[in-house]
């Protein structure tokens, strides 16, 4: 890990030591949630980026976006892990608090699993579709736009800056391989050290919880575009025939944090 990361880590640890020394578990619980939300966001964005790999929206920029998002995800992962391990190792937490930390732990490990799979897949697809070859055959998927906005969301910046070398598509793959092994090792370590039974955790959200609070996000169906070429009439009376996308203007990004 480089110096910047180490110092960040040291600050974080100092903060958590201070907060736990005042036995204020409520605040550290909130901190945890914030960090987990950030990790969750980066994982979601990383998945969107990996889906664009190998297709016609693949480019130098995409590879760089992937690299930056990945590094950010790893930073967040390490920070989350340290925080949560420390909270879970503390024997003086109340039962309710402990249940809450175990729930957060399950959130964390699920995120990490998704991240690990996506990293492995991005390695595989990255190897199959190098950019700097004379006849490159990117799959014509119909996606042609860029993914800078998604990456900007992941990095929590307004605009992305691109400063990578032109051989990033091959050079980055080696780094990616080492990072994948690191993540794998980290997850094995976590399994060994922390005794949490994931199946014992009860979710707070009930079925259909995703419908609440997203109704405000995304303007509603003022005009829908259907991807069926023909009229709805010629489709066999099946409501799932058309995929309707709300046609409103892009809603202002309402941050969860």
């Amino acid at each position: 890990m480089d110096g910047v990361l180490l110092s960040k880590l040291k600050n974080l640890i100092k903060k958590t030591v201070e907060s736990s020394s005042t036995a204020d578990h409520g605040a550290s619980g909130e901190e945890c949630k914030t960090m987990l939300d950030a990790l969750n966001k980066v994982t979601a964005c990383y998945r969107h980026l990996v889906i664009a790999l190998g297709s016609t929206s693949d480019s130098q920029n995409l590879r760089e976006e992937l690299k930056k998002t990945r590094k950010k995800a790893q930073e967040l992962a390490v920070a989350n892990r340290n925080k949560l391990t420390e909270l879970l190792k503390d024997k003086t937490t109340s039962k309710d608090d402990r249940a809450e930390y175990e729930r957060l732990w399950v959130l964390f490990t699920s995120s990490m699993e998704l991240l690990e799979v996506d990293m492995k897949r991005s390695l595989e697809i990255g190897q199959e579709f190098p950019l700097k070859v004379p006849t490159r055959h990117l799959i014509q998927t119909g996606m042609t736009g860029s993914t800078t906005t998604v990456a900007a969301r992941a990095m929590s910046v307004q605009n992305m800056k691109y400063d990578a070398d032109s051989n990033i598509d091959t050079a980055d793959l080696k780094e990616l391989q080492t990072e994948i092994t690191q993540v794998g090792q980290m997850m094995e370590e976590m399994e060994m050290k922390v005794q949490v039974a994931p199946w014992a955790v009860e979710a707070k959200q009930e079925a259909g919880a995703e419908l609440k609070s997203t109704l405000s996000v995304g303007n509603s169906s003022v005009g829908v575009i259907s991807i069926c070429e023909e009229d709805a009439r010629s489709c066999p009376g099946d409501e799932n025939c058309c995929v309707c996308i709300p046609n409103g203007t892009d809603s202002p990004y309402s941050p969860l944090l």
Partner: protein, 487 residues
């Protein structure tokens, strides 16, 4: 966290999917701007999306590239769609290639079916949650069922699923409109292939997963050689049969069963796996009153066939009851019960069998030769599952040589044969087939079936088998006085 007893380092090998690598190279060739498939833009209401290809172009390209006939190209194209490498833009639930102007599009490499990436239920749950958001709670019926079941057994991860679904949904909105439409199509197509809605046939039904790569070369250790030696020794010791005899047996089998094989001859009224209509299974249930003609014909092939079909066995039992020789079949069934029953009940069952069938003066005494009787009684001192095997075989051969022939000539059988039905073949039109697919429901739970069977057996046991000693005494009294007719 998912249980990670098996570290999945791409170890789940699904041998039938070995063709996927080859399909990927076909995909790459199709992308070539000069020699690949020609693409055209797809015009929607408010946007234009490039890279749409027509079915006829795909089929024509395959025909040219591989110098094959049109029908084979059509089959190959359908395979590409069924695997999910190409997805249809209209009629997205039918994974076939229509060699006309219907539009298709290539799937992004992330969503390609890859041999070593199993399809995760977590991802499916996230997808359903996202769909729930977009459809504002109105999911299709089969999706709703899946959603509920996933919510039940993945409950500990549900917070994560909701969080991730919301985040992915928001991140997706960051892209431009045409890309959003394409992404939604891609994701939907991926899940149509891997979690097919009712009525969709996808190519992903690959059977059991294997933990070992069947294509790796096995390391030649001493263990390996020992196994080969044992195998060859056993092969040498095996009794051999002249090939004319064994081939003759195969030919006879094929000729006899030709019309009864559902792959080679259409089964009446229709094959449920093809038409989704379950009449065939209803007509051939174990306790049906009137069997079908094909079923009755099968009983005449061999005694084993008759006994293994529960309806046939019932018929045979009825015949034996009229002949007062039901104890043979009862003994045979008791032996089967012992063989297949639980270990805890074995001792009791063996004793019961001895008391009822084998001991001198038993109520249902069976007629086996002295040697077999000796062996059996000796074995019963330390009963195990197969202790009655010798006696069972003897009785089986007895029934086969004697009763079976008489059964086939008996009025019982002739009556059953006459009353057997021959249903007409179904002629379903395409909309009727789709309606059938929608009406598919799971059949009766096997637990209930087993309960019914047990009740049936209990009922038969209480109705009482014919007690031979009483019958004999009645018969011996017959000569002395006229018994009052009780019936």
């Amino acid at each position: 966290m998912t249980i990670r007893n098996v570290r999945d380092h791409g170890q789940r090998f699904r041998p039938r999917m070995a063709c996927l690598k080859k399909v990927e190279s076909v995909m790459l060739e199709m992308q070539d701007p000069k020699t690949g498939v020609k693409s055209q833009p797809q015009r929607l209401v408010s946007t234009t999306i490039p890279h749409a290809i027509t079915g006829e172009d795909i089929v024509a390209w395959l025909t040219n590239c591989y110098s094959i006939g049109a029908e084979e190209a059509w089959a190959l194209g359908t395979m590409l769609v069924a695997f999910g490498y190409i997805y249809p833009l209209q009629d997205h639930k039918r994974l076939v290639i229509k060699p006309d102007a219907s539009l298709y599009r290539f799937q992004t490499p992330y969503f390609w079916p890859a041999q070593q990436w199993p399809v995760e239920d977590t991802d499916y749950a996230i997808y359903l949650a996202k769909r729930n958001i977009r459809k504002r709670g109105v999911l299709a019926l089969y999706e709703q069922v899946q959603y509920n079941s996933l919510h039940k057994w993945m409950n500990h991860k549900w917070d994560f699923i909701v969080m991730q679904a919301k985040e992915q949904y928001r991140a997706g909105k960051e892209r431009k409109k045409p890309d959003r439409v394409v992404f939604d199509c891609q994701e939907r197509a991926y899940w149509v292939v891997h979690r097919p809605p009712p009525g969709t046939v996808s190519a992903m039904d690959y059977g059991l997963e294997r933990m070992v790569d069947p294509n790796t070369e096995e390391k030649q250790t001493s263990d390996f050689f020992r196994r080969i030696m044992i195998f060859t020794q056993q092969s040498i010791m095996r009794p051999r049969v002249k090939s004319s005899v064994s081939i003759g047996a195969l030919v006879k089998y094929s000729v006899t069963y030709n019309k009864h094989d559902p792959f080679l001859a259409p089964c009446l009224p229709s094959n449920p796996w093809v038409t989704d209509d379950v009449t065939y299974w209803f007509l051939n249930m174990a306790n049906v009153g009137i069997p079908t003609k094909m079923r009755v014909e099968r009983w005449t092939f061999s005694f084993g066939e008759l006994l293994s079909d529960p309806r046939g066995r019932d018929d045979f039992r009825l015949f034996l009851k009229k002949e007062f020789s039901g104890e043979n079949l009862a003994f045979w069934e008791a032996c089967e019960d012992l063989k297949w029953g639980t270990a805890a009940t074995m001792n009791d069952k063996a004793q019961q069998v001895y008391k009822t069938f084998l001991t001198r003066g038993a109520p249902r005494w069976i007629n086996i030769d002295g040697k077999t009787m000796e062996v059996t009684v000796k074995g019963l001192k330390h009963p195990h599952r197969y202790v009655l095997d010798a006696a069972q075989t003897h009785i089986f051969m007895l029934m086969k040589k004697d009763s079976f022939g008489r059964y086939l000539k008996s009025p019982v059988f002739k009556d059953t044969q006459k009353r057997a039905i021959c249903p007409d073949q179904h002629m379903f039109s395409v909309p009727q087939l789709e309606a059938n697919a929608r009406k598919r429901r799971p059949s009766i739970s096997p637990i209930i079936v087993r309960q019914l069977e047990q009740e049936e057996r209990a009922r038969m046991a209480t109705s009482g088998p014919v007690d031979i000693t009483q019958v004999m005494s009645k018969l011996s009294n017959k000569g002395k006085e006229v018994p009052p007719s009780k019936k």
